[in-house]
Subunit: 312 residues, 2 copies
């Protein structure tokens, strides 16, 4: 009976199609203390692709010491041959890019920070030093024909610095675009953004000649705002949204950064809005329920919890 729901009532002010950039296997798992077997990760990615997600961020080529959970990137990627989805990988620096290139990666992402505090904590560099580090990474990736995504973390607030001025985010966005990034993902790493702030940042980026079709949004649900912020971004014309299956994940370097936007909660909204995603919510939910069993605890996604319960 619940299958008829949500009722699709399109909103002409929104994009007709949204590409979901699934980050569960990378951003979602990187925080997990118990090491997930490589075969389970591969199966997770296969199931996500089979549920209709056409972009699944697969892993990260960071130094294994930093993120032990993703130390198996070299083993994982070859297991994903034939998966029918784009499989971008994170590369923190030139060494990471070389490892990714050696394995035939077709898309990479660099992970920058808008704030000095987080650049220092996460990259042990100033913001400008990190951009200098990214420059040859992006240039080499582009020369090799790869698509490059630039993550901007702490776009709205920072646990050490509080509210982040919009012009700081615009400056870093402009720099990453000038370095050659194809797409920018605006991250609300600690989940403090609200819809008016989102709209104001997107408008300021447009004024700085950053086109909306080069932008993705990446919201965390720490304060329950992720979906409302996504709605504001869609209304501004953004049509690429990051989300994590089952709401897995957070950020290992910022305690309060719990809870990526759950892909299922996003798909429920987009299905209701008549926005095409290509994702089958039932198969996706089944995947998150399966993954939650692997991890030994329930999914934090409200939609996963509701759909996996008995209906009256």
């Amino acid at each position: 009976m619940i299958g008829q729901l949500p009722m699709a009532v399109p909103d002409p002010a929104l994009p007709s199609r949204v590409r979901i950039h699934e980050v569960g296997p990378r951003d979602g798992l990187q925080n997990e203390k118990t090491i997930v077997p490589t075969e389970v990760k591969a199966e997770f990615i296969r199931r996500l692709a089979a549920a209709g997600l056409d972009t699944v961020e697969a892993t990260s080529f960071v130094h294994p010491q930093w993120v032990p959970q993703l130390a198996d990137a070299e083993q994982l990627l070859p297991m994903l041959e034939g998966v029918g989805a784009r499989l971008p990988v994170l590369v923190p620096n030139r060494r990471g890019l070389d490892r990714a290139l050696a394995l035939g990666a077709r898309e990479v992402a660099v992970f920058g920070s808008v704030t000095e505090s987080f650049a220092k904590a996460n990259l042990n560099r100033t913001v400008d030093e990190s951009l200098e580090m990214f420059a040859p990474v992006v240039a080499t990736a582009r020369e090799a024909g790869l698509r490059v995504r630039g993550y901007l973390s702490m776009c709205f607030g920072d646990p050490w610095e509080g509210a982040v001025p919009i012009e700081r985010t615009v400056r870093v966005a402009r720099r990453l675009l000038d370095l050659g990034c194809d797409e920018l993902s605006l991250g609300d790493t600690i989940g403090v953004a609200t819809p008016g702030h989102v709209t104001a940042l997107l408008a300021a980026l447009n004024e700085a000649a950053v086109p909306t079709d080069r932008l993705a949004v990446h919201f965390h649900d720490t304060y329950g705002q992720a979906l409302a912020n996504t709605l504001a971004a869609l209304r501004h014309g953004v049509s690429t949204v990051d989300a994590s299956a089952g709401g897995l994940g957070g950020c290992p370097y910022a305690k309060s950064a719990t809870g990526n936007l759950a892909t299922e909660d996003l798909v429920w909204m987009l299905d209701g809005l008549g926005v095409t995603t290509g994702v089958d919510l039932g198969r996706l939910t089944a995947t998150s329920v399966w993954m939650a069993r692997q991890l030994g605890r329930p999914s934090p996604s409200r939609t996963v919890r509701a759909l996996s319960h008995q209906e009256p």
Copy 2:
């Protein structure tokens, strides 16, 4: 440091002020199996009012056998004298109204259903029979000078019937207004609504001569949609929003109806949008943390959980 957050970035398309209709003590607690002492309920309401909530739905005059948790309505109301807030109470029928009037209640609410299935399950009547039952209740309350709110449950979907046609909700809304209700609260009892559906319903109500300033919205977070739906309603001009402190509550007659919109998650968004509510988020969060201790389990509100954790 987090005190600077959220950054207030007003959106001129939204109302400048929102009245929060706090339902925690009634809708939030009615589901609790362990009976909460009357003095704790009174203290909860006092603390909510002291946090700046100007409307706190205090209890329900249903038959004690239906909702044992609220069987102490007669004892509770006299304990609230001097509380500086409007204190509406639910009255299911004429007998409930008489009990409320005897105690000097100044505002009452009737609780209707849009769907036949829920009317049968909750009221053991058809929709039309329930409206006939409400007619003398609303008329008598109005004659006594009381303000009357009409709840409409299952406005968007129903666990037995699936998606609810918009015209069904419009019809019941129009009837309740014609009976004399001052305000209607549109309830998404099982949390299935999405923003386009919300906007379409509000527009259809306007077409049926139901003015937006007579409407409140009441969303549940079962599928994580409550705040996005609220944003859509605010954008349509709605300026009364129901919420439950700490996200307490659900609906005892519909298993899947878990999770009222948490008042704290709402206030975080409204603070960020520069919308005045009069609510002090810190005091409200402290109240929900206190209440969670009384109930012996953590608040489901993401904002309460984030604000009550240590920051890095």
